[in-house]
């Protein structure tokens, strides 16, 4: 008998002709994802500053582009598993007798909270602001690090 099984259930042995179509459709989706992803807008929180979050086995790295900020104008804190970055970018007032031809850089306040995916060790956080790039290294809590299991 032909049973139409939802595609997310694991196959239970017998194949119907719909399985082939589902598989093809899934592969096509995966292919198109690879080609099209550059032109679509990335899903961001839309809050300044935009961050890139990466991880390795020991910790998380949060990077943000913050040109024109000095380290004492930036406020970084960690509460539980969330990292909070806030501050104010100031642009110097250049004087009286000047004519602007272009004014593209913006000044203002910002505040952003980033949730980290796992538990972190808040005592050993390091942050560095260099060349306008903020890099925060947040070590993972010991219990959140991957454990190697040897197979005998």
């Amino acid at each position: 008998m032909f049973m139409r099984r939802p595609f997310y259930y694991p196959t239970m042995g017998f194949r119907t002709s719909f399985d082939e179509l589902e598989r093809m459709r899934r592969n096509m989706d995966r292919l198109l994802e690879g080609f099209g992803s550059r032109s679509f807008l990335p899903q961001t929180a839309g809050v300044f500053p935009l961050v890139n979050l990466t991880e390795d086995k020991d910790g998380y790295y949060v990077r943000a582009e913050l040109p024109g900020l000095k380290s004492n104008e930036l406020d970084i804190s960690v509460t539980g598993n969330t990292l909070s970055i806030s501050g104010e970018r100031k642009i110097a007032n250049e004087g009286e007798n000047i004519r602007y031809h272009r004014r593209e850089r913006e000044a203002g306040t910002f505040s952003r909270i980033i949730s980290l995916p796992g538990e972190v060790n808040a005592d050993r956080i390091e942050a560095e602001l260099k060349n306008g790039i903020l890099k925060v290294h947040i070590p993972k809590a010991e219990k959140a690090k991957p454990k190697q299991i040897t197979v005998r």
Binding site: L41, P42, T44, A45, G46, V47, F48, P49, L50, V51, N52, L53, T54, E55, D56, K57, Y60, Y61, R63, E65, L66, P67, G68, L69, K70, E88, R89, K90, I91, N93, E94, G95, N97, I98, R99, Y100, H101, R102, R103, E104, R105, E106, A107, G108, T109, F110, P117, L129, N131, G132, I133, K135
Partner: protein, 136 residues
């Protein structure tokens, strides 16, 4: 001048360069935000170039065209995996046509906290020489 300290900064995506010539190396190229203003004696340019080190920055003024170009190294360390990336990392490039004559010897450039400050002093206009005409 408006009070900017109460205003909140908005997140913006970087705009890519729509250059007439293609890049020889792979990678995205972005347009940096600049402020240009002038006084009587100098033209000042301030550009946001985060991630560009002083040695990776090239400034060229040639036939009244000012070219700014900065290389940015990719940020990931060797073992890191991306969780999410909200901004892209790439080179910066922008060209301007400078309408005034610039005294090339006295150009000053400074890179602080990812912001380039470029001071282009205007060339001294030559004083016109007064020519007296002798009456015949």
């Amino acid at each position: 001048m408006a009070d900017t300290s109460a205003k909140e900064l908005q997140a913006k995506q970087k705009t890519e360069v729509s250059a007439p010539s293609e890049q020889t190396t792979a990678g995205a190229v972005f347009v940096p935000a600049v402020d240009i203003f002038e006084t009587e004696k100098v033209i000042n340019l301030l550009a946001d170039l985060p991630g560009v080190k002083t040695e990776d920055l090239k400034i060229d003024l040639h036939e009244n065209v000012l070219t700014l170009s900065g290389d940015v190294a990719p940020f990931e360390g060797p073992d890191e995996n991306d969780i999410f990336s909200e901004y892209e990392v790439g080179k910066f490039y922008r060209q301007f046509t400078v309408s005034e004559e610039i005294d090339q010897e006295k150009i000053e450039a400074e890179m602080i906290d990812g912001v380039l400050k470029l001071v282009l002093p205007k060339a001294e206009k030559t004083v016109p020489k007064k020519i007296t005409v002798k009456a015949a």
